[in-house]
């Protein structure tokens, strides 16, 4: 398996991977490819953008990498059951969003039961999150409900259509519209201040 590290010299400068563009050609692999080859190809083109998507959702880069790696491993395991290999990228996005949701759910439970740290001792996770929330907009994004946050990230970072967001989140297009509108309304004061 030829490794194409995203930051390595062998990686192609794919500028489109900076956003999750809805380009079917980038998310599809030939149907006769085996799972190893498909994972390598999808990794070299989409790993970085998927990690960034997950990091915006879970607010932690290390956890985001684990989430994306889990998604790749799951896709490799279910490669034969993936009826349409053209949907590999969609499968990965959906898996990343679902796993990010699970991480957040688990984090809520952990935070509920964890002892309170001393106020002058910020945790390492807190430092990683703070790195992601230098922008007031992004920190305001944190206050949104998870579904609304997912809808905004997929819409404005991933540049995905409402139909794609609905497919990834497993909800209807109307629900996507509703989540997006409510989230934008909640963020409007912060966004106007930034503008």
């Amino acid at each position: 398996m030829t490794a194409g590290e995203p930051g390595g010299a062998s990686a192609r400068p794919i500028h489109v991977t900076e956003t999750l563009v809805a380009d079917a050609a980038l998310g599809s692999v030939p149907a006769d490819w085996d799972a190893d080859r498909a994972v390598t190809a999808l990794y070299s083109t989409h790993y970085r953008s998927l990690v960034r998507l997950a990091a915006l959702l879970v607010r932690d880069v290390a956890t985001a990498e684990e989430v994306v790696q889990d998604s790749f491993v799951a896709m490799h395991g279910g490669w034969r059951r993936l009826r349409d290999s053209d949907k590999a990228l969609s499968y990965l996005r959906q898996s990343v969003v679902n796993r990010s949701r699970s991480v957040l759910r688990h984090r809520v439970v952990v935070d509920r039961n964890a002892p309170k740290p001393a106020p002058d001792m910020p945790s390492a996770e807190h430092g990683a999150i703070a790195l992601l929330e230098r922008s007031a907009v992004v920190s305001a994004l944190r206050t949104l409900p998870p579904r609304q946050r997912e809808a905004l990230v997929l819409r404005y970072y991933g540049d995905l259509s409402e139909a794609q967001i609905a497919s990834i989140m497993g909800i209807s297009r109307g629900a996507v519209k509703s989540h997006t509108a409510r989230a934008m309304s909640a963020l409007r004061s912060v966004l106007e201040r930034e503008g």
Binding site: M1, A3, G4, E5, P6, G7, G8, E18, T19, D36, V39, T40, Y43, Y47, R48, V51, R52, L53, A55, L56, V61, A64, E65, V68, Q69, F72, V73, H76, G77, L131, L132, E133, R134, S135, V137, V138, L141, L152, V153, Y156, Y157, M184, L187, R188, L191, E192, E194, G195
Partner: protein, 260 residues
Amino acid sequence: MTHLEPEDILRRALRETAGSIEPTPDGLSRIQARLSPPRPLFVAWLVAAWETVSQFVLLRLEFAMPRLEPMRATLVTWLDTALPTADRRLRPALGWLIAALAWLGRMVKPQAGEHGRPPRYGWVRPVVAMGVVVIVAVASGLAMSGLPSQIARDGLNVFSGSTNGSGGGGHSPGVTGGGKSYSPSSGTSSTSGTAPNPTANPSGSPKAKATTKATPSPTSPSSTSPSPTVSPTVSPSTGSPSPSPGDTGGSTPDPSPSGS
């Protein structure tokens, strides 16, 4: 300065934030390290179930250990007194088991105010009771299995004590009147008062085989199984008519302890 739409502001903020995120370059190697040949679904289910159950049990045990420790110590002490012939290696395990069952039974005991309706874990109590019965039966069986050797040892002690009038070690098994014990494996004497008693070793150990070899037995030369009844004959100074191993075998040995 141009006025930006809220959507553009959000898009720009998200991309700026995401642009500062760089994943570690070993992502593919980590993914490849985790890739393995797919297992059958049934095996995967079994493995997952086993991991879940084992983690649950280990967590529960870790939580319950401090509570069980006093009960375990008490039960081991009780077993020491109640089951003197049981195998010592089994006692701690039995103590742990009984303590765990007792704790389980206490845990599922119906609380006050629950009378009149079936308890939540009411089915556990009969199971616990049956488990206790099984454990007691096993422990009793172990105790009974050790009883014959205990009787034989006591018999030998009585035998040695009654014929050995001199010496402070008269109650030590196999201790002669001169304070020496006979070692059947080597055929030499030692001064240790706690020399192993051949009668207490019912298994076919080399020591027991040496005993039968040292005892001239023309009638059964091929017999290698030690018998407790043979043992008293190896005591050379008991005054019994049985020949000692040191004696030259002109006479037929008497395997039965006489004079007791």
